[in-house]
Symmetry: C2
Subunit: 365 residues, 2 copies
């Protein structure tokens, strides 16, 4: 494994998108969103996904030239058709529209249909935070999660992201799937040859599966399903995670007359790959409409510090607040570099060769 | 146990509030919110709480004459000081303001401080739904939930409520604490002398407690804490439930410079009862800003029906969507009446005697 400086990786990503027919400004946005994921330690959504994006552009599943189109607009809202462009570019533009509306009217919301995978959900609230606002972002996704009392993967991991500025060095940033876990984490366990928690995944009969390799295969074949936050059944609150997931699905599809649930499988009835057609929902709230920004930051900082100073569980030395671990990781990675293992290096080398990128950064020189 | 027609109960509640110094219009609002809880089968938040509200008014902890005051306002937002009035009256008025703003500008949000317990969280989204909107409502509450890696009850049960209209007989309505469970459910198990799930509550050492009676006592003494949705630690996603709870706390206090966490304990340092000072956040989104209302309703209905038609878990005959069970209960209770057991009947009789309400409805004639 090598540690590569994050700005080198960022340039590599930008260059790969450029050579795939993406314009300069859009390529920079893609690089910024992917690198933000790596910096925050969310390996599943960063440079590790570059090859996937490039392949999808090559296959014609993602349009390299993103032309999102405003279908309907009000003082505070917009409905946008992504026209199958790059989700990150569409998301970036949509959140900027929400922020501009919030600046003028107090709040802004943008609903998007016909988009593609937009990277980490948490990136978009961070845009709002930089403008002194509260930001939220939601997206639906390929079916993989079973509703309560079902074994069928019907819902996506449907994440919720929420960010708010504080008086600390880093904002409050919540960014989480409404399922207990997601595919990326199981891939990580598989690489490390570790078993999966018995609470995460069920097979077609509702029994837990713990073999990571088998889970990954079964998920593809729809023979397994992730469980919603709260777990199976209602006793531990699984219906709550299920309900939250449906809220995200509503915000990502019902307002847009967009695709949802099985329509997001990525395949048509003959098994051919289709457009992704995922939907998103972005929301910005101008804090200054309620109180001076600095007062809000102080209020939130005091709240977070009171949480961290609560009595620790036996054996635990520290209580974190959302976004804190990711901030600490970012400080570390900015100094040390992004870990690139052999598999990833091979992937990136393939991207280099395929896109005829010279001088080579990765693999054999 | 007797079954009392719900409109009799509703009149009784209204009358009790009237005789406590609450104005006619406000008393009707309180009755409507409490009875909505009973109709939906949420016994913990309905007529069972009437005595508590009346006592709190008598003690001067809740002002019978609610005078919420707009502190700051923008086209889409308002900050309101509840001035310790009745939470239900304040909530009703605040949600109406959010709806009016959404009608004009697409969205409306109202943040409230210095309020008191406002009944079921789900009532307020239902108001938005009746206006053809999506509604959301949040509130913080007395500390009872431990953050991840803590054993101390610091956060409230901090519920999230979200409602949206569909083409079915009843709307989608999610209304859930961000903890796995809440005190009311443990009280129900205690009455039935049943053990509590090992996943719900921990003691000061982080060990599960299952004796309902002991839990209720320990919660009062801060010797026990409810667990966030997702459970203890991070493996089953407890940090997600914890994070969602903090989001609710932020929306309910940081925007309003209101009280939060330990300040909501209900007692001062000498152990005297204090004002409640809880905060709320109400949000309305005008669906017509995005697409015709009927189209949205059809989209959502189709989504909900696809969820219900997913493959069932072994032994399960039905998959529900949020608000469906409560709708079914409502149909039943409207026909059969609200179950009033002996304990509750005694409580109501005490209220009757105390408020000199005649003719008596409850207890010895």
């Amino acid at each position: 494994m090598r540690l590569i400086p994050y700005d080198n990786i960022s340039l590599f990503i930008e260059n790969a998108f450029l050579r795939s027919g993406v314009s300069g400004g859009d390529a920079r946005i893609c690089a910024d969103i992917l690198i933000t994921s790596d910096l925050r330690g969310i390996e599943s959504h960063g440079i590790g996904r570059l090859k996937m994006y490039i392949e999808r552009i090559q296959k014609g599943l993602i349009e390299p030239v993103s032309k999102p189109q405003i279908i309907r607009e009000s003082p505070t809202t917009a409905l946008i058709d992504g026209n199958h462009g790059i989700g990150m570019v569409i998301g970036h533009q949509s959140m900027n529209i929400a922020i501009a509306k919030a600046k003028e009217f107090g709040m802004g919301a943008v609903a998007v249909r016909n988009s593609t995978h937009f990277g980490i959900d948490g990136y978009y609230p961070l845009m709002a935070v930089k403008s002194g606002m509260i930001g939220m972002s939601f997206t639906n996704a390929r079916p993989s999660v079973a509703p309560t009392f079902s074994t069928q993967p019907v819902l996506g991991t449907n994440p919720i992201a929420f960010g708010a500025p504080s008086d600390e060095e880093f904002p409050f940033l919540f960014d989480a799937a409404t399922s207990i876990t997601q595919r990326g984490k199981i891939e990580v366990l598989n690489r490390k040859e570790k078993p999966v928690s018995e609470y995460w995944v069920i097979d077609n009969h509702g029994n837990p599966i713990q073999d990571a390799d088998k889970i990954l295969q079964s998920l593809l074949e729809k023979e397994a399903a992730l469980l919603p936050l709260g777990g199976a059944g209602e006793v531990t609150g699984g219906h709550k995670g299920y309900g939250l997931s449906v809220i995200v699905e509503i915000l990502s599809s019902s307002l847009q007359s967009g695709a949802f649930l099985s329509a997001l499988s990525g395949f048509d009835e003959e098994g051919n790959e289709t457009r992704f057609r995922v939907g998103h929902f972005f929301f910005a709230l101008n804090i200054e409409s309620f109180l001076p920004l600095e007062e809000f930051k102080g209020n939130l900082g005091t709240l977070l510090r009171e949480l961290r100073s609560a009595k620790k569980s036996p054996g635990k030395e520290r209580i974190y607040t959302a976004g804190e671990k990711e901030f600490l990781t970012e400080m570390q990675i900015k100094k040390g570099g992004i870990p690139v293992n052999e598999n990833l290096e091979n992937d990136l080398h393939q991207v280099e060769v395929f896109l005829d990128m010279r001088p080579f950064q990765f693999g054999k020189k």
